[in-house]
Amino acid sequence: MGKLFAVTIAIIAILSAIPIVMNYWGPPPDISTHGFAIDEQMKATMWEAGIAFLSSQLILALFVWLHAGRDRSYKLKTFPGGAKGLVIAAFVLVGTEILALGVVGQKAWATVYFDPPDKDALTIQAQAGQFAYYFRYAGPDGKFGVPHPDKIDEGNQNFFGLDPENDVPARDDIVAGELAIPVNHPINLLLHSKDVGHSFYVRELRIQQDFVPGLDLAVHFTATKAGQYEIVCTQLCGLGHYNMKAYLTVLSEDDFQKWLKEKSAQ
């Protein structure tokens, strides 16, 4: 019985490792400038965790196989140093592994969160609300109008609560339901939640950032390939969460200017 258990452990461990080693369900191609570092970090994590996982499971299976069915009186060897030794060893091993991953991966994290955005980054404001995303561009004057939450009137398309009557910079602000950006141009995306927690996740960009109510957050990135990509909400926000998405459209610089003109005319 014990030997069967040992074999089962070994089989489950190996079967679980195969799809990851063979990269069956890999992420979609990366279209960002920082994505390579993140993908490398992911690979490093998988290797380290994978080796630790497989070796621990197979060693467990081996010990179960060797000692299954033995008499209760059989004295097993204990871990050198006893329980205390075991805890210290685990602490050192796992601690080193995680620290190593952190040190190796810090650059990938920093390029997204700690390095400031490019000086000529295009700033776009994203607002997440139950259950849609709306994106605001500053328009020809380069200035964002002041948003007034009490003036939000969604039925009249005033999603940001702008007051164009009294606030001149708000008059040319462009609001759209899709995020259009020029290719190979740094983008500074400001994130604001209208109500509850949401998240901004684009797989191809390797960006995932929560919208936290009350905080004004920002992520910056540069897209390197034109196309249409899905932005999905990955933070449960209510009954429409399953349907909450928008599209990221990466356009050539000319097409992007055309898109802006079209939107401001509407």
């Binding site: 259950f131 009249n156 339901g177 349907n243 599209y247």
Partner: protein
Amino acid sequence: MRAKQLLVMLMVLVVCPCLLFAGSVSGKVTYTGTPAKPKAIDMSKEPTCAKQHATPITTETVLTGANNALENVVVYISAGANDEGQVPPQAVTFEQKGCQYIPHVLVMHTNQELKVVNSDQTSHNIHPLAKTNREWNKSQPPGTPPISEKYEKAEFISVKCNVHPWMHGYFAVLNTSHFDISKGGGDFKLPNLPPGKYTVTAWHEDYGTQTADITISGSENKEVNFSFKAKAY
């Protein structure tokens, strides 16, 4: 012979005085100034609805017609009607189609049955923002039967969809069946009004409310026009 004719006339007069002595109110609703441009509605997050509109639909907050006509203005008798207890037996329908509310403004009598229909391939969650009446919202997946509800008190209720932020409409719940809603030409007509004093109210969702006091004697048609000041934004 003459006595018989007189008797028949008297009977007709007694039985249906309304037919002989019914007046009406009619007129035009217009605006002055320049209204704000309707804005295009972006439905990209709901492709099943987006593809139903070859060109994006625009906001219906202010709908105008030729010669400064103002549409979707509810004109009704707010005082003097005395038909509060006469609830029409048929239901009124509010349809969700192409992620749009049809009609944009739905008028109904208090306690009249309201049917909400979902004709789309996606779930809607209709949320009438009632303040005097009970506020409720109901989820309606595609293919489910119509929602049946009614409102007990007169109120103008803003309606939104919890799932689709751009969807917007109004319920005008009135204590009377003497109402009309202005369309392309801005015209309205309120027939079958017995002689008496009345207050006619015109309501527009953005430009506000105006009233006019009138007196109907005999079977005359009183002309009342309403002019609203447009807002630039």
